[in-house]
């Protein structure tokens, strides 16, 4: 048997990594990212002569949990045709047995990188509203994302906002298969501690959403998700994540606890974040639309539902909203006063 040097081992690893696109319409260009389930490649769709992104599973086989999950992710994406959600073009199995799906190749930046160049809070909030649009659409189609975080949002070169990575998505209705319990290391998933297993034994019975496995990302994951309380995960869990995301956009920190350079949003915005990311689901917004409406109200200078203002705050908001007219009237009045003053001299 031939001795394999370390160099040969590396080459064999590389050789085994390359997906076999024989018989497909795709030509491999390059690897762009490695995730928990597999690798994302850029490939050329030779029929349509355009670039696509191929998400290819590491391990071959169509029966495994990961394969089912990847296929399911493609099916979820297929039912979500929205400008804010990356469209899927194709799904299948490669010659080497690996499941893959092809999606739009998004050239852009992750939200956390993109906002470094966006200093204006209103501009950041407008990005947030586009995220809300996509998530509200998914909710209307009965799909929860369950892993909303800056790393899963892409902003394209023309400012288009795309919600990515629906690998942890949960179908609220019409789901025929139980979900996979396979965890995605990208999503920073961790097992629930032993102690809490007894407490939520009822939740354990729901094999559908995780078998006691916590799925999500700390800082963006709702408390019920963190507890693995699968029975109580609904649209409000995504609203929690959106609240953390909004706080991140406003302050650079999802929890608003960082010190130093962290900016402090004004009280109305803080109230919106706090209401969206309230620990108890019952205290959150009841829908993404309601959250988006409150953010829009703030942007338009109206009172937000999450915060009851003092008289002074009302006055200041009134001033901010009608600043141009107030200053115009003030200038007019000042001019009149000056005219009267000089006329009576």
């Amino acid at each position: 048997m031939k001795f394999l040097s370390d160099k040969a081992l590396d080459r064999l690893r590389d050789a085994a990594d390359i997906p076999d696109l024989t018989g497909t319409r795709y030509r491999l260009i390059e690897r762009v990212a490695r995730g928990g389930m597999g690798v994302v490649y850029v490939a050329e769709d030779e029929k349509l002569q355009r670039r696509v992104a191929l998400k290819v599973l590491d391990v071959p086989g169509t029966d495994g949990d990961l394969a089912k999950r990847l296929t399911r992710e493609a099916l979820v994406l297929a039912r979500l045709e929205h400008p804010g959600i990356v469209p899927v073009h194709d799904v299948g199995t490669l010659a080497d047995g690996r499941v893959f799906y092809a999606m739009k190749f998004v050239q852009g930046q992750r939200l956390d990188q993109y906002i470094e160049a966006v200093a204006s809070i209103p501009d950041r909030m407008r990005i947030f509203l586009r995220i809300c649009d996509a998530v509200a659409f998914a909710h209307a189609r009965g799909v929860l994302h369950r892993d909303l975080k800056p790393a899963n949002i892409m902003v394209g070169p023309f400012g288009e906002v795309l919600v990515m990575d629906w690998g942890l998505a949960k179908l609220l209705r019409g789901e025929t298969q139980s979900e996979s319990r396979v965890v995605d290391p990208d999503a920073t998933i961790f097992e629930r501690p032993e102690a809490s297993r007894e407490v939520s034994a009822a939740a354990e019975t729901s094999a559908a959403t995780g078998h006691g496995t916590v799925m999500g990302t700390p800082g963006y994951m709702s408390p019920e998700q963190a507890r693995g309380d699968v029975e109580h995960i609904d649209a409000r869990s995504d609203i929690f994540s959106l609240g953390a995301l909004l706080r991140f956009l406003l302050t650079g920190d999802s929890k608003g606890t960082a010190s130093g350079e962290t900016r402090r949003p004004d009280k109305a915005l803080e109230a919106i974040c706090s209401k969206a990311a309230a620990p108890a689901p019952g205290n959150r917004y009841i829908s993404v639309q309601e959250l988006a409406l409150d953010v829009s109200r703030y942007l338009d200078g109206f009172a937000v539902a999450a915060h009851s203002e003092s008289f002074f705050e009302k006055l200041m908001r009134f001033y901010r909203r009608y600043r141009f007219f107030i200053l115009l009237i003030a200038a007019y009045l000042l001019m009149r006063v000056l005219v009267l003053f000089f006329m009576h001299r």
Partner: protein
């Protein structure tokens, strides 16, 4: 359709054989023997080299200990105690090796008692030659981490070596000797990587033939290596973990 043509959409990874963990406990003697052979084939070299380095044993002593360890696996039914949920098989075996060697007086007694277990024909001379190429300095005192890393690397070398050998035999059986030579020249040689064009000139064939041959060889190598790995894992979850670790598929 030629026998080498691929079936798109098909699952090319049917686990052809049971896991060795299950098979060693089989009531079928033939299956037990086959499982034991598969286990030995994949692990004897890493174990031998590990004993040489970790326990600083002379070659002849390490050979006896390696043989003795596999006898111990059968006699004490060590694989039945393995729990795939708690650890990986190779970690478990490494710990068993440590425990076995540290109690070598007892081990040598077992070797004497193990007369009913067939003596394993292992190429220790080859392993010794390979050990000479190791990057670990035998004069230095290696740390536990570096030894663990060493064991893991040797295990991957052993697994890939078996897969390459199986691929070679497959190529011979399918009259694809040239395919294997191309694979060898492109993926196994230690020298600077050659280009497809260079291979095309060297073998006097079109570049497309080089591309197709290498794609086939790589696909088969990957399939064989994963099949062997699957066989050496106790559960599907362990297989997924091991595949990621062995092939370097950890998220970056």
């Amino acid at each position: 359709m030629s026998r080498d043509e691929v079936h798109l959409g098909g699952d090319r990874f049917p686990p052809t054989r049971r896991s060795v963990i299950d098979a060693v406990a089989s009531i079928d003697a033939e299956e037990r023997e086959r499982a034991f052979e598969a286990l030995c084939a994949a692990y004897w070299k890493p174990i031998y080299k590990y004993i040489r380095l970790r326990w600083n044993r002379q070659a002849d002593e390490a050979q006896d200990l390696t043989q003795g360890f596999f006898v111990e696996i059968i006699e004490r039914e060590l694989l039945e105690e393995f729990d795939a949920k708690k650890s990986r098989l190779r970690t478990y075996l490494r710990i068993c090796v440590d425990s076995f060697v540290s109690n070598e007086v007892k081990a040598s007694r077992r070797q004497k008692r193990g007369g009913n277990v067939p003596h394993l024909a292992l190429d220790f001379a080859g392993a010794e030659e390979e050990l000479g190429r190791t990057v670990i300095d035998p004069s230095a005192i290696p740390s536990a981490e570096s030894l663990e890393e060493f064991f893991e690397k040797e295990w991957v070398r052993s697994l890939f070596g078996l897969a390459v050998e199986e691929l070679r035999q497959l190529c011979i059986a399918r009259d694809r000797d040239r395919t294997f030579r191309l694979f060898e020249a492109y993926d196994l040689e230690d020298s600077e990587k050659v280009s497809y064009e260079q291979l095309s000139k060297g073998f006097a064939i079109p570049v497309t033939d080089v591309t197709n041959a290498l794609a086939w060889a790589r696909r088969e190598f990957r399939r064989i290596a994963l099949e062997r790995l699957h066989e050496l894992c106790g559960s599907e979850e362990e297989f997924q973990r091991e595949a990621r670790a062995t092939f370097g598929w950890e998220p970056k």
